[in-house]
């Protein structure tokens, strides 16, 4: 099998141009990915009777605006939207801030127990949330926090994934000389963080912020337990209430609610799609 290595045409291996079959398959994948979202829009634009009539509609109908108005006013989707934005915004901000600080320490600062602590951080990622909900529920009941947004925000202030993500980024992106040079200049560490670490980490912070925001926006299990559809729900909790028939059995309203919960994130994706794609891939390569 030993051969002399010759330099081949540059298009060898993975750099092949895609053939027609590739486009057909990818087109199919895009269709399967996007169709349920399109159909959500279709269903939200028909009356409740039309949606549950065979065969289901495939083209948009005339009632989108009516349904949006109804869902917004009758089921407090507006309030849920505000709640979700507040929760996801706070969680994203604090996770990015604390993950960057911890990631910087793990990447560039020597301290006793660093290795063991980092192992612990990674290990915590495998603990399922089911293991903490019962005591957490008792705690928030005792504190009178049921239906209060802080019961959803506080447990998510910082995530192991974020710490690990920022560490991986800063190991390569932040030259240790830069930190030492700042120290030589007499900068204390908060100053270094502000003037050196944050500027270098900004691209990764943006990506982490988007990922955490999406995750917090879509989070279901714990919010469903801590918040009730009638109290102070996030979108997901309000939607689950709609779906199980607490308020209405009008499927077009249920699906209008689903549309309201999805649309903001889809808009974000349409605008920032490339960066989010880049972020997911960046997080994966270095794992």
């Amino acid at each position: 099998m030993s051969r002399v290595r010759v330099s081949l045409r540059p298009s060898a291996g993975r750099q092949h141009h895609a053939g027609p079959l590739t486009y057909v398959l990818l087109g199919l994948a895009a269709l399967v990915s996007l169709f349920p979202l399109y159909w959500n829009l279709v269903a939200a634009s028909h009356s409740g009777e039309r949606v549950v009539e065979a065969p289901a509609p495939l083209l948009p109908g005339p009632r989108l605006f009516d349904n949006l108005t109804f869902a917004w006013n009758q089921v407090d989707m507006g309030e849920a939207l505000v709640n979700t934005t507040v929760v996801a915004g706070l969680v994203a901000l604090s996770t990015v801030l604390f993950s960057t600080l911890a990631g910087f320490a793990f990447a560039k600062l020597p301290f006793k127990g660093r290795g063991a602590m980092l192992t612990l951080v990674v290990a915590t990622m495998t603990i399922p949330p089911q293991l903490s909900v019962i005591p957490l529920y008792r705690i928030i009941t005792d504190l009178g926090w049921v239906d209060q947004l802080q019961s959803v925000v506080l447990p998510s202030l910082v995530a192991a994934f974020g710490v690990f993500f920022m560490r991986q980024y800063l190991i390569e992106a932040l030259p240790v000389e830069l930190v030492e040079a700042a120290r030589m200049d007499g900068a204390h560490s908060l100053r270094i963080i502000w003037h050196v670490v944050f500027p270098v980490a900004r691209p990764a912070m943006a990506v982490l912020g988007m990922l955490v925001f999406v995750q917090a926006w879509n989070d279901f299990f714990w919010p469903f337990i801590a918040l009730t559809p009638d109290g102070n729900p996030t979108l997901q909790v309000a939607l689950a209430g709609l779906g199980s028939g607490n308020h209405t059995v009008d499927q077009s309203i249920v699906l209008t609610g689903a549309l309201i919960s999805t649309l903001p994130l889809l808009l974000v994706f349409a605008v920032l799609g490339k960066h989010i794609v880049g972020g997911i891939t960046a997080g994966a390569v270095k794992s």
């Binding site: 092949h16 895609a18 289901a56 089911q130 337990i225 609610g257």
Partner: protein, 332 residues
Amino acid sequence: MATSLRAAADGSPPPAPPSPAPGAPGPPTSSWRSRLYRWDLRLSPYAYVAPFFLTFAAFGLFPLIYTGWLSLHRVELGGDAQWRGLDNYTALADSEFFWNALANTFTIGVVSTVPQLLMALGLAHLLNYKLRGRGFFRVAVLAPYATSIAAATLVFAQLFNTDYGLINTVLGWVGFDPVDWESSRWPAQIAISTIVTWRWTGYNALIYLAAMQAVPQDLYEAAALDGASRWRQFLSVTIPSIRPTILFTIVVSTIGATQLFGEPMIFGGSLGVSGGSGNQFQTLSLLMYEKGWVTGALGQASAIAWVMLLLLLLIGAVRLLLARVNRKKLGA
């Protein structure tokens, strides 16, 4: 100092050892300042990692242990705990609901994870070609990731509806009888797995794509010289090269599948908590929720939570074992 740091802030390469600008504070000289400086050096790392560990201690570790303690007691919502030893666990072992939920979690997990990761591999391979409209395809396959569990499940519940759902309509065109996607065991489990697969395939494909792009070009060149077809190259070069990434996604998907809650819960509508009329899609998480919040048996719910952790530890151990066997086989 200010100039050198601002240069770095603009993203330019790190400057050579900076010369202190006139008027800027020099290295600390007084003993008070140097002591402060040493403290800063020694203690600040702990301050930076503290938020994570404090949050984890309060909302992760303490509840974990407390759940373990609860699982050894008989506790009802709002009531006092009575010591019961391992009773909750033996009760689980005797409960057909537990074994049913465990089996459902396993089958839904397999039916959602295996096709999902295989399709993600294929999709990543396709996305790795030189493509027109590359950006569009990548964002399109990622769009389901932006959809919440609740929204996706509500949409799919309509598409899978037995009487008027589009999926049965399409099956009818091809000549199949309508399938009862909610009340029959396997169809219901397949429908729920479809929702999971739909949401995560594109995300996993992008993770694979990133790994594929890091595979050295010469490996493909050598394989092509040896006369390997593209399919052969995919099997013998691409797959082995991205094995760590594949392992990573298997672990993450397994953890996700073990905790499956929202999809079966919402798919079941008003029957959600029990996982369908005959518990045909009740998962461990759903059973735990039912025990804890519907029945009010928090001790039993805690025992289920701990069984889930033990399962994950078991899976992790098996994975480590397999990795070791694999390494031996490769002789590395």
